[in-house]
Amino acid sequence: MSAVLPLGWAVLLPVLLLAVTWAVVAADVLAAGRAGGRPVPWTVAALTPAREALRLLVGQRRRAVGGDELLRGIGGAVLPLAALLAAVVLPLGLRPVADLGVGIVWFNAMEVFAWAAVWLVGWGSNSTLSLIGGYRFVAQGLAWELPHMFALITAAVGAQSLRVTDVVAAQQGLWFVVIMPVAFVAFLLSVAAMAFWGPFGAPVGRDVAGGAAAELGGVDRLVFVTGRWLLLVAAAAMAVPLFLGGGHGPWLPAWAWVLVKTLAVLAAVVALRHRLPTIRMERWTEFSLVVLTPATIAQALVVTLVALGEGGLR
């Protein structure tokens, strides 16, 4: 059994991600209906992603008057691309599409393109509200990136490898979430923040009339919104190999465990989202830098000491 999936999976990966995204969007519609006191039948919710996508496909694209079409287009396209490329190292089962030796760094480097993407879309639209949205995401990014990196590093230290499959293999007995709960929580927070979604949705918030996306119409909006959901799905799916034991588990085959765990993480995130208001930047930045970053560093230190105590570096 080779460490990598056959090449055909590279084509299947976007399809899988989109399917999960569909399910998550539908679940989000259901949860929103329930939270708003106007429940949506699940048949309607299941069709909503398709209806919205069709509506945007049929819709006219909008030119940003006096804006930078080129930069806006690049920004919009980079968002889904970054999510797909980040997902390349996700083990679907026990094997990923690409088993890079520095898979964790690859994941981090790809998702960080969202910084550039959102800012470019906000800038290229030539509208005050869009630009405020773009800047909000950069401010938010500066706050979540450090705890996020330390959470990733903690998982890598626990497995003593940057290879995602090694991290999964190291969790055969004990899931990392047990020995590094702080890193897990920090990672989940940064998942939502990275996808500027839920409590971290200020960059596309209602107060700035859709923020970075305010001027997008038609297929541009579809690509942007899809990219955002794909980022959320890819990042949430990454929590499974890093902290939740990947494909390990009794009875079911590895791929089924990965799917079940991914959906469970996403369900938890969606359920939480509708209970929480949006977090404002100035609050989050200070909390993230003063509380979360030291906490994740301490977590990394503890895990390092445990790893050293268990027989030192391999």
Binding site: A109, L120, G124, V138, E282, R283, V291
Partner: protein, 186 residues
Amino acid sequence: MTTALFVVLAATAVVAGALVFRVDSMARATFLLLLSFLAVAGLVLMTGLQYVGLVIVLMMVIEMVVMAVFMIMYMMNPAGLMSMSMFHNTRGAAVIAAATFVALAGGALLVDWPVRGGSPAPDPTMALGESLMSGQMLTMMTLGVTLFATIVGTVVLATGRGRYDRLGDELDAPASDDRDRGGVGR
């Protein structure tokens, strides 16, 4: 194949780097510079240094976005509504650039290239880590602390309102008088 990839990446790095000085918009200049850096990161990846290459990608994306924010904040003509020039001191710059180019190209052409001794480590990332954390430990620690001290020093010098302004000379005010409050409440 490898040669073609090298040529494409190298040409992208150079052309994008040169275009930085041709465009009017600060945003375009910044992201052309980013493109140039990404092509360099691709070249580094081609040498087999996966970790270093990806860290270049990671850091450059973040750095360029942050740089764009600052450049646009301070620049007169951020969006390129009117044509502007990115050149200053053109004559001096041309002399320096030409001299640097001649020195580097001359060095590359004239110096005898050493013959490779030894073989690459099986895992360059591991080798890099071992080198940094054993032989070069003192260098890295000194560097790290110096950089961190520089950052802290710059912030302290640049900040308009330090903690004594916010919390009083004895630092004993129950809460600061900031207009916008942070998340921890200090």
